[in-house]
């Protein structure tokens, strides 16, 4: 079971209907292929005209929101790719705040609150509570999570 989640009991919808999705990403930059799957799946949803109400980064995936990661030129830079996708489609990129703080990902407010040396949350990402995952799961038609 590779961390897949779905809603089988929603109203029957034909293939041309546009659905609202929430994407949960639990795998980080070190699980390259899974992380890429999440990105590509989201990209494809949007390309096919579905809406993505929120992408929620949890567990290892919070590391994708660091602006201080240096990726070799011949490897995929997940941070940049999510940012580009978010900008193109006005996506909401929510990062679990507890996980972010634990992994050294902070925005200017948290930086000030905890008197840290620097803030490094990448542009386009925002720190949110786990409640945003629960809220999105109530509102969306489909919730799909990536990460083993």
């Amino acid at each position: 079971m590779a961390g897949f989640l779905y809603m089988p009991n929603t109203t029957h919808l034909n293939s041309t209907t546009s659905l609202s999705y929430c994407i949960v990403v639990r795998c980080g930059p070190n699980q390259q292929s899974q992380s890429l799957s999440a990105l590509q799946f989201t990209h494809e949803l949007l390309a096919q005209g579905h809406s993505v109400m929120r992408v929620f980064f949890y567990q290892q995936a919070v590391l994708i929101a660091s602006s201080l990661t240096v990726v070799p030129q011949d490897e995929a830079n997940l941070t940049l790719q999510w940012q580009a996708l978010a900008q193109e489609y006005q996506l909401e990129l929510g990062v679990c705040i507890a996980g972010a703080l634990h992994n050294g990902i902070v925005n200017p407010q948290e930086c000030e609150r905890y008197q840290l040396e620097a803030a490094n949350l990448a542009q386009g990402f925002q720190l949110v509570g786990l409640g945003q995952l629960a809220a999105a799961s109530v509102e969306c038609d489909r919730l799909v999570s990536f990460g083993a």
Binding site: Y58, A134, V138
Partner: protein, 116 residues
């Protein structure tokens, strides 16, 4: 709206068990009525005795708080229990047993399924 959360990680090997239980508690707080399925090493989260995990978070204490959050549907996969050489009487909470073949039936009872 109901949500099944599968917990397959051992309690202290990584932060995953803690984080998945956090998600369960928040789902419950949002009245999502989550059920929990303990599977594979996740069954170990239900072992009550001799947990002295300091300095880690005490998983057993989070488990014992589930009832307070009205999380009452606790499922344990029979095969996982057997593979770990455990008996259902050894677990800290009253649980319902379900065998591997019936899992898809369980999944279909819930609107959503979140796997950790």
């Amino acid at each position: 709206m109901s949500c099944l959360i599968s917990l397959s990680q051992s309690p202290y090997g990584s932060r995953s068990a803690k984080e998945s239980l956090d998600a369960a508690l928040v789902m419950a707080a949002f009245e999502q009525n989550p059920g929990l399925l303990f599977i594979d090493d996740g069954v170990l989260q239900l072992l009550p005795k001799g947990q002295q995990p300091s300095p880690h978070k005490h998983i057993g204490k989070i488990i014992s708080a589930l009832e307070m959050y009205d999380i009452e549907e606790l499922w344990v996969e029979t095969e996982s229990l057997q593979e770990l050489g455990l008996q259902v009487e050894q677990l800290s909470q009253p649980v319902k047993l379900i065998c591997r073949q019936q899992l898809s039936e369980l999944w279909s009872k819930y609107d959503q399924h979140l796997v950790f």
